[in-house]
Symmetry: C2
DNA sequence: CAGCATCCGAAAAGATACTG
DNA sequence: CAGTATCTTTTCGGATGCTG
């Protein structure tokens, strides 16, 4: 979920009557979607959450979120590029690198937290619904 | 982002000292992650947002969120299974189907809204950060 | 230690054609 | 209209080997 499909602008669907957005800010809508995909990414969520308590080094983070080095690196680069984390390299040997949230990243963390809380609060409702749905769909066996 | 990797439990990483969760509710953590992935899915977000204003029919929804029919169907089935939307089929010909949020879905909608607002509020910060990052990474050319 | 590059299998998502 | 089924393309993500 790294980038959003470029061809999905709201305006070019046949039969679409253009009631969804003002004609001007289609680029903005695209960016919102792109950012939403970014921010809603599994590893992003986990990393932001992990860094909320304290800054961490690469392998600490890796252990904590359970990501492969490749995914963690990619996620961290994106977060850094987006201004959500800062990467600090200590000129030691071997090198030590730590990551911490910026104020922007911290503010995202709070928002993510509300999502987290929703899941925690309504988990049971969802699970009961699933059981009912599955039983309704497959009454036999 | 349909399902979460089953092997990523927080507790089995080397060097992990177990300070993140109580030893008992690992299953719960797994479910939280699974639900988070579900709920943080791009299409889910878009669909829930689209249905917040009013109920919509399949193709209206399709046009509004810009999903392929395949993705929309899958997303709607999941939302229905999770008890977040209700699917109503009108016995007409040709058939008309509309979708609307349940109270549970509506409560998620509010949470999603906060994510949306974050993106909207900090979009510009992110974009400026990106420009700076990219310029720093590629000073030549 | 932190990371980049490459390869490869698995999963996701788009396009297309067909149906009640 | 609202799907299902199938095919192809794209992306994800783990494994491995190599650097400073």
């Amino acid at each position: 979920m790294q980038n959003v499909n470029p061809q999905e602008g709201t305006a070019e669907f046949p039969g679409h009557r253009g009631e969804t957005v003002a004609p001007d800010d289609e680029a903005k809508v695209a960016l919102v979607r792109e950012l939403l995909s970014r921010v809603a990414d599994k590893w992003t969520l986990l990393v932001v959450d992990a860094l909320e308590e304290s800054e961490l080094r690469f392998n600490q983070l890796r252990a904590k979120v359970g990501a492969s080095q490749k995914m963690l690196t990619k996620t961290l680069r994106q977060l850094e590029r987006d201004g959500l984390v800062v990467r600090r390299v200590h000129p030691t040997v071997p090198p030590a690198v730590d990551y911490r949230l910026t104020p922007l990243g911290l503010s995202l963390g709070e928002t993510v937290c509300s999502l987290w809380l929703w899941v925690d609060a309504h988990m049971n409702d969802v699970q009961r619904s699933r059981v009912a749905f599955d039983r309704a769909a497959r009454p036999e066996a």
